[in-house]
């Protein structure tokens, strides 16, 4: 079974600064997907960014980018120019490569609470 570990229960950053959230995972699979989700106080999980393991290029979505190190099984999220609205719980998640309609479950880490200071 796959496991996802987020070693930073809490992080803080000054507005406009850059912060990096860490995530490591354990798997014996070679093909899979990785995700970062944001959960604001509204509780609704919002997809921030995703990475396909077969792609060497790191995914980027505006101010959000990842550092995907497949050999090290590491998947960190970098938030540039942090904004007050970025304050939330961030979850790293793993999903197996789809095959015949199976492997649809997401395995989540325990999350990192990000505080943005004005």
């Amino acid at each position: 079974a796959q496991t996802v570990t987020q070693s930073q229960p809490e992080m803080s950053v000054q507005e406009a600064e850059t912060v990096t959230l860490s995530c490591t995972y354990d798997t014996s699979e070679s093909d899979y997907y990785l995700f970062w989700y944001k959960q604001p106080p509204s509780r609704q999980m919002i997809l921030v960014i995703r990475q396909e393991a077969y792609k060497q290029q790191n995914a980027t979505e505006n101010r959000f980018s990842v550092n995907f190190q497949k050999a090290a099984k590491s998947f960190s999220l970098k938030i540039s120019d942090s904004q007050l609205g970025d304050a939330a719980m961030y979850f790293c998640a793993y999903r197996s490569y789809p095959s015949g309609g199976s492997n649809y479950k997401l395995t989540f880490g325990k999350g990192t609470l990000l505080t943005v200071n004005p």
Binding site: S42, R43, Q44, F91, P98, G100, Y104, L106, G109, K110
Partner: protein, 118 residues
């Protein structure tokens, strides 16, 4: 509706009582998932529906938990004889459900039901 709707938003119940949690997915989404988020934990998979069928119930923690889906739409998660350890946020998500191939669909989450068992 425009998004995944869950009701009630919050539920307080007494130990031993039964509760029903409702999820109304996005129209046309055939896949539906229930996850549980306990305090300080990541999301834990409970059950997956494709249409009205539940091919994977492996995450249900005990036989006190059951779920059904009718008309390929609304789903109800029922917890019988609630215990204090059932206190958590119960999140529902839906997706288009086009299984097979290498497509990984985007999940759309609701805002969850906060269940408190006294």
């Amino acid at each position: 509706g425009a998004g995944v709707s869950q009701s009630p938003s919050n539920k307080v119940t007494e130990k031993g009582k039964d509760v029903e949690l409702r999820c109304d997915p996005i129209s046309g989404h055939t896949a539906l998932y229930w996850y549980r988020q306990s305090l300080g934990q990541g999301l834990e998979f409970l059950i997956y529906f494709q249409g009205n069928s539940a091919p994977d119930k492996s995450g249900l923690p005990s036989d006190r938990f059951s779920a059904e889906r009718t008309g390929g739409s609304v789903s109800t998660l029922t917890i019988q004889r609630t215990q204090q350890e059932d206190s958590a946020v119960y999140l529902c998500a839906s997706s288009l459900g086009h299984l097979g191939g290498n497509r990984v669909e985007k999940l759309f989450f609701g805002s969850g039901t906060q269940l408190s068992v006294l």
